[in-house]
Amino acid sequence: MALRPLALIVFLLCSSLSARQVQVTGTAEGQVLPDLELPLVGTEGTLRLRGEAGDSRPILLVTFASW
């Protein structure tokens, strides 16, 4: 009997985690931008697409090619 509340807690935790995993990565509306860090063009260093932790600015992301 004592195990039942524990099982309930485990169930709630797991369902909470699985609900968070539903977020799909991608570039379509409602999806989450992949957490990519890529080398910069024309200079040294890298760029983390989602921004660094604590950066609360919205992002305008333009993907293109020079051709």
Partner: protein
């Protein structure tokens, strides 16, 4: 237009504008950015890890990474769905998201010093990170690490459960290796196993599995036939260099020069052949039996093989040739003709059967390169397989001198190319 509209928002710290270029060569994108005066940070994504299918694509992303709008029109600033309205919706909203940071650690490791046992193993993200952060060193450690990374990506594409994306990335890796280290020169290597052909074959397999992926299609078309080009890819380069020079800016020297295919304009006109005589019809010029120079080649197919999304019928190819002399050998253009003779298959066209290499830039004499187009005279309808032209035969003539003051000879090397696109 929004580039100007966002400048104030960026300066006020209310917006972050970033770019991602979907190109094989980072230095070409760098020239374009410099020429266009683009100041916001732009990242290089040759492996298409962002997984976009076409460009340009403008996204509005909430802090935290949630994509609020995926098709912002570059010229729409005001009104519903315009930049300012979308911006307003994003202000002060931070999505609560997981921050898995899957790729960052691999990149951090790739940035570190090379260790003797540094090998990406089976880890594709680690392999891509190593190639992205490659310092382009040619020492044994750098070459070994780079080749291991390429091998990881190529092996991944050979796995039974390989995806279209795996094939594309294997192609990107092979082309990166070619640009850094040149064509592979393993003894006994068979035609179509070279790095460039390997890249083209991998991209062709990827496109066959996902014909709607236009980033991948363009990667083949970049080196492909003129009849398959939606536009010239890099015809803007001379103008950019000229204008930057006029502004007193000196563009960086490129390691990888543009091929003819990359500056060619698209079009429907077929080449009118110029009749020329075979310079060695009786094969009297001695064969290069001592491997004084190695001929490398690759055939870029018309992307019509992958599906009906083409404007002209498949069947044409762009053939890329490159001659790499041995270490103690010089190619001396004064020593005789330097060129290629092709035996055109029945019904096929090229601008000429004899292609003169004398006109290449002086700096290129030690690695003459050339690309030319082969056109099927009666191609099938779009979406159908190319006509069966199994092979292209011919020979290349080159005058070589051995050592500083050594004897010079005119030599001949025969070739036999497989023109069929990879499946």
């Amino acid at each position: 237009m929004w580039h100007a509209a966002t400048r104030e928002l960026v300066a006020a710290g209310r917006l972050r504008v970033i770019g991602v270029v979907q190109e094989q060569h980072r230095e070409r994108a760098a020239l374009w950015l410099k020429w266009q005066g683009i100041e916001w940070p732009v990242a290089w994504d040759p492996f298409n890890q962002l997984e976009v299918k076409l460009v340009p694509k403008v996204l509005a992303v909430q802090p935290g990474g949630l994509v609020l709008k995926d098709r912002l029109h570059p010229n729409r600033i005001e009104g519903e769905g315009g930049l300012l309205e979308v911006m307003g919706r994003m202000q002060g909203v931070t999505a609560e998201l997981e921050q898995p940071a899957q790729f960052g650690p691999h990149l951090a490791r790739a940035r570190g010093a090379i260790t003797p046992d540094d090998d990406p193993g089976e880890f594709v993200p680690a392999a891509m990170a190593i190639l992205l952060m490659d310092r382009q060193g040619m020492d044994a450690g750098s070459c070994s690490r780079r080749r291991a990374a390429v091998r990881t990506l190529v092996d991944r594409a050979l796995a039974p459960n390989a995806s279209a994306r795996d094939h594309f990335r294997a192609g990107v890796a092979q082309r990166l290796l070619l640009d850094l280290e040149g064509p592979s020169q393993r003894p006994g290597e068979q035609p179509n196993e070279g790095r460039f052909q390997g890249a083209l074959n991998s991209w062709s397999r990827a496109l066959s599995l996902d014909p709607g992926q236009y980033i991948w299609r363009r990667r083949i078309q970049q080196w492909g036939p003129r009849l398959d080009k939606p536009y010239p890819f890099y015809d803007w380069v001379p103008l950019a260099r000229k204008e930057l020079a006029a502004r007193g800016l000196k563009p960086a020297v490129w390691k990888v020069l543009l091929s003819g295919a990359e500056t060619a304009k698209g079009g429907y006109d077929l080449p009118v052949p110029v009749i020329q005589e075979n310079p060695d019809p009786l094969a009297r010029i001695p064969l290069d039996e001592k491997q004084r120079a190695i001929l490398h080649w690759a055939v870029a197919p018309h992307t019509g093989f992958a599906g009906p999304n083409v404007r002209v019928a498949p069947g044409t190819s762009r053939v890329h040739l490159s001659l790499v002399p041995a270490e103690d050998v010089r190619i001396e253009p004064e020593g005789g003709p330097l060129g290629i003779w092709i035996d055109l298959p029945d019904g096929w066209r090229a601008r000429s059967s004899w292609i003169d290499l004398q006109s290449v830039g002086e700096a290129d004499y030690q690695n003459p390169r050339l690309d030319f187009e082969l056109v099927a005279s009666a191609p099938g309808p779009p979406g159908e397989a190319p006509p069966p032209v199994p092979r292209l035969t011919g020979f290349v003539l080159y005058p070589v001198c051995i050592g500083e003051n050594g004897v010079c000879n005119l030599l001949r090397r025969n070739f036999d190319l497989d023109l069929r696109p990879a499946r």
